[in-house]
């Protein structure tokens, strides 16, 4: 008689530990493993930039490794996409030719990163990343995932890809969504640092929106609060970054094109955009 196989694909790693827990009659699996099932290792650490951990008021995060390029299609991504029931491919490319996945919506992008064992930068981390690149271009040493100093030409390429006003349209999703949780008292929440729980995105941080600009303006990103949202308009001489303020049920993304660069906190969570991808980040071990 042929042994019937499992009816679904299951990663066999750690199976013996789970079997032992069944034998003990544990009601739940005692595991500290992340809720994702496709955790990849960083294949090439020199393609990551070390973002030193920071504290902004009550919010802090550890040292992160941030990918130099937006997430491209490979075998791991294909596996994760299949898990999510997505059909993905590289839809566009960065100026240096590095191709990346677009045409995914915010939720799909965050889930994809999480299933790969990555995280997506939240607005605060993203602005810190911007500042790091800027300092690097002015001569401060910035390190890759192996601890080597990154050549300024590479930093310039990464900075230009994200922040320069030029064609084509390109962008990336950020880990934050916004919602009004009390209409009468107009209590606005920001949710960020999402994880997957039972197949659903759950924010690790959900808190009232702190004082920030709630109008459509050119802004000074160095004024960003601990949640990564600007509190000050830019002067009329440095109108570089456009800002769309949060709305109920909106999400955050950052993009640039021939006209402007935009921190957009009013994005539609369901709407995929072909040139908007996602950047992988990992906690530096």
């Amino acid at each position: 008689m042929t042994e019937p196989k499992p009816i679904v694909p299951v990663d066999r790693e750690g199976l013996e530990e789970v079997a032992e827990s069944l034998l003990r009659g544990d009601p739940q699996v005692a595991s500290t493993a992340p809720s994702s099932n496709i955790v990849t290792q960083i294949i090439n650490p020199i393609e990551y930039i070390t973002l030193p951990g920071k504290t902004h008021g009550s919010y802090s995060y550890p040292d992160l490794l941030v990918a130099m390029h937006r997430l491209g299609y490979d075998a791991d991504v294909e596996r994760a996409a299949r898990t999510l029931g997505l059909s993905l491919q590289n839809t566009t490319k960065e100026q240096n030719g590095s191709r990346y996945i677009g045409n995914i919506n915010w939720e799909q992008a965050l889930k994809l990163n999480l299933l790969l064992g990555n995280s997506t930068l939240n607005p605060r981390q993203f602005i810190d990343f911007k500042e790091l690149l800027k300092k690097g271009l002015k001569g401060t040493e910035v390190y890759d995932g192996k601890g080597a100093v990154i050549d300024s030409k590479i930093l310039k390429m990464v900075h230009d890809e994200i922040f320069t006003v030029r064609d084509p349209f390109r962008g990336e999703w950020l880990d934050a969504n916004f919602e009004v949780i009390d209409v009468i008292d107009n209590i606005f929440h920001i949710n960020y640092d999402h994880k997957i729980a039972n197949g659903v995105l759950k924010p690790q941080k959900s808190e009232p929106l702190e004082n920030c600009l709630m109008e459509e303006k050119y802004v000074d990103l160095s004024s960003a609060n601990r949640q990564g949202l600007p509190t000050r308009k830019s002067s009329i001489f440095s109108r570089k970054i456009k800002y769309y303020h949060p709305q109920n049920q909106s999400i955050a993304k950052f993009y640039a094109h021939s006209d402007r660069v935009v921190l957009d906190a009013r994005g539609d969570p369901a709407y995929p955009c072909s040139p908007v991808g996602v950047r992988a980040a990992k906690i530096k071990r």
Partner: protein
């Protein structure tokens, strides 16, 4: 254009049929990769194929795939005069190499006076009269590699039941003699219901591997149709029907290649079959049928159905959207067409994208929407393909949910391993230990409030019961 491989020949023939204006429809609705959807202000979305993708019009695509399979069966529906029958005839001719005249002479026209003698076989009258010998002479229909039944729903139910057997098994019985139909595709066309049509029953519809809705050509396609010439003015189409020698197909090779195509695997499990089985399992379950899991299937919900039962525990699960379940026949057709589609697109392995692309066309004519589905979108009454696409999306979401629940899947796999080996690592377990581990696994999986946990837990119980039963026997 020489030295084409078999896939390239089929692709070239597909294009040739369009280029010659024999079947023109640029309404691409099947894509090898999910297309980008560009919204129109009026509420519609227009699909744009992704780089490296392929786009096909479903009627010609599935006529092509059906022609390549051994006993493929295809239902073609649509309004009158949109090319249902001619599309089938031309596809049959080009993809099997059967002369069009042979196809036309073997074709059965559906009408209320249609009889078994006219369709299947007759006795040789001379011998019957002179010596009383019953010598059966099969009709051309059975012997032609391409079988077309035009307007089948104009045949009464008793005639349809003969056709049903033929569709299902490729065999017919006349007198006491079993007659085998020649291997090849069977195309059945049907207009939408009118005062002269009979109803196709669900068991009849289930016999068709695939079904398409033919739409009228786009206005910009008409110029290409005109360009082929007007056969009512200038006679036949003989020149247009010639098959270039370099495009002649080798069916034995093609069928061998399609059959030999393997699936992509994930953790050693064929991933496409796993998804197909999940689709089958998702629609099989019915809370309305019974309180016993052994009988809680749609097939057993014959009095209190998914439509007239009070709401159950899972109010939005995919199974709540269909009255009926899928047959084993359908489960097998899913893999067959996914393989053929992957082969046509030159892949060396069948992937999830392949089954997702063909799935709506394999299911829409079989699945009956519930009132709940119709209330959510009344247009599902017309557009059953959209109905199935909606269900497929829900099933995909559930599948993703299950695949992301690592804890449940590992519990399931660990329990299965214990049942099959009786061990954890090198440690041999006692029977009570095995049973306790299994009980814990079922309780743990069952604590997750999702429909997909039911088959996982049930499979564990089933394996345990089978194992225990064979151990109790001493052969």
């Amino acid at each position: 254009m020489t030295n084409l491989n078999e896939q390239q020949k089929v692709q070239a023939l597909y294009k040739l049929i369009g280029d010659r204006g024999l079947y023109v429809n640029t309404n691409a609705d099947v894509f090898t990769k999910k297309p980008e959807e560009v919204p129109l202000g009026v509420g519609y979305k227009i699909p744009l194929m992704q780089d490296g993708s392929q786009a096909y019009a479903s009627p010609l695509l599935f006529a092509t795939l059906t022609s390549l399979l051994n006993h493929g069966t295809m239902l073609i529906t649509g309004a009158p005069g949109v090319g249902k029958t001619t599309g089938a005839e031309f596809s049959g001719h080009f993809f099997t190499g059967t002369p069009l005249e042979d196809i036309l002479s073997a074709e059965i026209q559906g009408h209320p006076q249609q009889t078994e003698e006219k369709m299947v076989a007759r006795y040789e009258l001379g011998k019957l009269i002179s010596s009383g010998q019953e010598v059966v002479i099969p009709r051309k229909f059975l012997e032609c590699p391409v079988k077309v039944i035009d307007e089948a729903n104009r045949c009464p139910p008793d005639v349809l039941s003969i056709i049903m057997r033929l569709v299902d098994t490729g065999k017919a019985v006349y007198g006491n003699q079993v007659l085998s139909a020649k291997s090849g595709p069977l195309f059945v066309t049907a207009n939408y219901a009118d005062e002269g049509t009979f109803h196709f029953t669900p068991p009849f519809l289930d016999r068709f591997d695939v079904a398409v809705m033919v739409t009228s050509p786009q206005p910009w396609d008409l110029s290409r149709i005109r360009a082929r010439g007007d056969e009512k003015l200038n006679g036949g189409l003989s020149e247009l029907l010639t098959i270039p020698p370099e495009m002649k197909l080798n069916f034995e090779n093609i069928r061998k290649q399609i059959n030999g195509l393997e699936e992509k695997t994930e953790y050693g499990i064929p991933a496409v079959s796993a998804f197909a089985d999940f689709v089958y399992g998702s629609l099989r379950f019915s809370e309305a049928a019974s309180d016993s899991l052994a009988r809680s299937t749609k097939g057993n919900a014959w009095q209190v159905t998914q439509d007239n039962a009070p709401p159950g525990h899972f109010v939005d699960a995919p199974f709540t959207y269909t009255v009926n379940e899928l047959s084993v026949r359908t489960a097998r057709a899913m893999m067959r067409y996914a393989k053929a589609f992957a082969w046509l697109n030159g892949k060396d392995k069948v992937e999830l994208d392949d089954i997702k692309a063909v799935l709506p066309y394999l299911l829409w004519h079989k699945l009956q929407p519930t009132q709940k589905a119709m209330t959510e979108n009344p247009k599902y009454a017309n557009d059953r393909i959209a109905f199935v696409e909606g269900i497929a999306q829900r099933i995909e979401n559930d599948y993703a949910d299950m695949m992301s629940n690592q804890s449940a899947l590992k519990t399931y796999a660990a329990a299965l391993e214990i049942l099959r080996t009786g061990k954890i690592g090198n440690k041999t377990l006692t029977e009570p230990e095995i049973k306790n581990a299994l009980r814990t696994a079922i309780t743990r999986i069952g604590s997750i409030d999702k429909q997909w946990t039911i088959p996982l837990a049930s499979q564990l119980a089933s394996e345990y019961n089978t194992r225990a039963m064979y151990q109790n026997y001493r052969f």
